[in-house]
């Protein structure tokens, strides 16, 4: 009996629980994604509170969440930036792809999930979380650093790679034969090209249609158009997420900022629902057997991202400290990795891929927490390697005048209060806002 009342009670309980989890995340200034996943695990099948009435709402909500996640991601980039990034950072982007997808592909094959599972797991280990990475760099005051443009370019390249990868994955997962697969891939490629062409050449047409002085009208037009494009893309086997991403790219300038301001609250809500939905569909009992593999992949995943960051920063002419920072900033995995795993689990004709969902959940849980921690330890680690002392306050005085001692602590970058020359903070460490 799915009465409206019980559905409302369940949905309300879920969203309230998410709010509580979110407040914990804010309190410890960590990403909320792992907490939402844990929340989903706690609610779902085999969890504390099986929910069955609101299943339908959560399912649709999750789909909308993915669409809005990708749409707002697309809004952050202009078509010109994407093309420029492709031109300048393709070599590093490709190296990043090979380095980071390889462990997933190999693990997928070793675990016996076949080429399809290997393709999906390769995607899960490949993509960094641009959301978490940007937040970490902002929090640590790294945005002005010399390696930051290189790091951002790698993130843009990854997001673009997703626009190509997701349609391929969707097609392969649908278990289409070679001919049908080729056909839908061709349709996907055409659709992507068409949307990109419209975005690059006639972005102003789209903007003129959507633009409105009223926030209400703008919200309805943008949301409607995005869901419509995503639905059509999904119908054409391109994957709804990619359609939404390209739609986001098509909008730029002041309109994109307005759309972003209006849609961010909706995105926050539905993206949280999506992570819960993913958690709901992961049986907590499947986690322990996958934990060992997840830890191993996470360690390798940190290593390969450090490699990507090293390469990207070196190409930008940046030295040791910046190279380590770049790798650490790229290490967190998050929303996209779960989106890929979600596709593999829900779109797969292969029930064997269910454990891929558990593995991805564990992997993201580890890296969404460990990535930002690693970033906080990046500078002490670099100092340890290069044997430099902690930077002292630098006053713009004559070179022969002595420094004012430590009375002026303003020159020291805000960091966790780690003692001098300590390497990585121990994992039990929680950081406070000072």
């Amino acid at each position: 009996m799915h009465s409206i009342a019980t559905q409302l009670i369940e949905i309300g309980a879920i969203i309230l629980a998410l709010g509580v989890l979110g407040s914990i995340a804010v309190r410890f200034s960590v990403s909320a994604i792992p907490l939402y996943l844990i929340g989903g695990l706690a609610f779902g099948a085999g969890g504390l509170l099986p929910l069955d009435n609101s299943e339908h709402f959560v399912e649709i909500g999750a789909e909308v969440g993915v669409i809005l996640l990708l749409f707002t991601l697309g809004l952050e980039y202009t078509a010109g930036e994407l093309v420029g990034t492709l031109r300048t950072s393709a070599p590093v982007g490709l190296a990043d792809l090979v380095l980071n997808a390889a462990p997933g592909v190999i693990a997928g094959l070793l675990l016996g999930w076949g080429p399809v599972g290997a393709l999906a797991l390769g995607g899960v280990t490949y993509v960094s979380s641009s959301g978490i990475a940007a937040k970490v760099m902002g929090d640590l005051g790294w945005l002005g650093n010399r390696e930051t443009p290189a790091v951002l370019s790698v993130l843009v390249f990854e997001d673009l790679a997703m626009a190509v990868y997701l349609p391929i994955l969707t097609t392969v997962l649908a278990g289409a034969g070679l001919v049908a697969g080729m056909q839908s891939l061709a349709v996907a490629a055409l659709t992507v090209t068409a949307i990109l062409y419209v975005a690059l050449r006639h972005g102003n047409l789209v903007e003129r249609f959507v633009s409105s002085p009223s926030d209400e009208v703008l919200l309805l037009k943008v949301l409607g158009l995005t869901l419509l494009v995503a639905g059509i893309a999904s119908q054409l086997q391109v994957s709804a997420a990619v359609g939404a991403f390209l739609m986001g790219i098509a909008l730029s300038g002041p309109l994109a900022h307005q759309a972003q301001r209006l849609l961010t609250p909706l995105k926050d809500l539905f993206a949280a629902v999506f992570f819960v939905f993913f958690g709901l569909h992961t049986d907590p009992a499947d986690l322990p057997p996958m934990l060992g593999v997840a830890v191993l992949l996470a360690v390798v995943g940190i290593g390969t991202k450090l490699g990507s960051g090293w390469l990207a920063a070196r190409r930008a002419g940046v030295h040791l400290t910046g190279r380590i920072r770049a790798g650490a900033a790229l290490a967190p995995r998050g929303e996209f990795n779960i989106v890929i795993a979600g596709l593999a689990v829900s779109g797969g004709a292969d029930p064997g891929l269910d454990s891929l969902g558990s593995l991805a959940a564990a992997y993201v849980l580890i890296l969404a927490v460990a990535g930002p921690l690693l970033a906080r330890g990046a500078e002490p680690l670099a100092r340890r390697i290069s044997g430099r002392r902690r930077p002292r306050p630098q006053l713009d005085t004559e070179p022969d005048e002595p420094d004012e001692g430590d009375g002026l602590d303003a020159g020291v970058p805000r960091q966790a209060d780690a003692p001098e020359d300590e390497g990585l903070p121990d994992p039990g460490y929680t950081y406070k806002q000072d």
Partner: protein, 160 residues
């Protein structure tokens, strides 16, 4: 003075320059209007040793302290010298018909006789904007002309 300008995809722009005393200073301009003031390490030019996050308003105030006020001041002096000329700052409100359109589209000078001499955007003064300059909501347009002329320009920006 050489200013290094780098695009930060998804965030905005970064400008860095070296002072005559050899210190590197930079500003990260976020699209949201936030500004980060960055001062670089003397020994490691890759690293910001201090980053100060400023809201658009705070950045505007800092710029004012550092000299943006000069331009408007000079304009005020100018119209004091010339009898009958006034300087007006016309804000472009959200929803203005010229939000996202060019200066050339307004045909302000031929319609009103008043001149658009500068645009203040995010505390940055763009002096003598060209006809291809694209306005966006939040800009303040500095107009010089007769009292009627500047009022007419304000009406153009408000309602086309």
């Amino acid at each position: 003075m050489d200013v290094e300008r780098t695009s930060l995809p998804g965030i905005g722009l970064q400008h860095v320059f070296t002072t005559s005393r050899g210190r590197q200073v930079g500003v990260v301009s976020h699209r949201t209007g936030r500004r980060d003031l960055a001062v670089y390490d003397k020994e490691d030019p890759d690293t910001c040793i201090v980053t100060v996050q400023l809201t658009a308003e705070e950045a505007g105030f800092l710029a004012e302290l550092l000299g943006t006020g000069k331009v408007v001041e000079r304009l005020n002096d100018l119209h004091k010298q010339v009898e009958g000329l006034v300087t007006e700052q016309v804000p472009i409100a959200a929803g203005s018909p010229y939000d996202g359109r060019t200066l050339g589209d307004t045909r302000a000078r031929s319609r009103t006789g008043a001149s658009i001499v500068a645009v203040v955007r995010n505390a940055e003064v763009i002096a003598s904007p060209r006809p291809g300059f694209v306005f966006s909501a939040g800009d303040k347009v500095v107009v010089v002309g007769t009292a009627e002329g500047t009022a007419a320009v304000a009406r153009i920006f408000a309602s086309g």
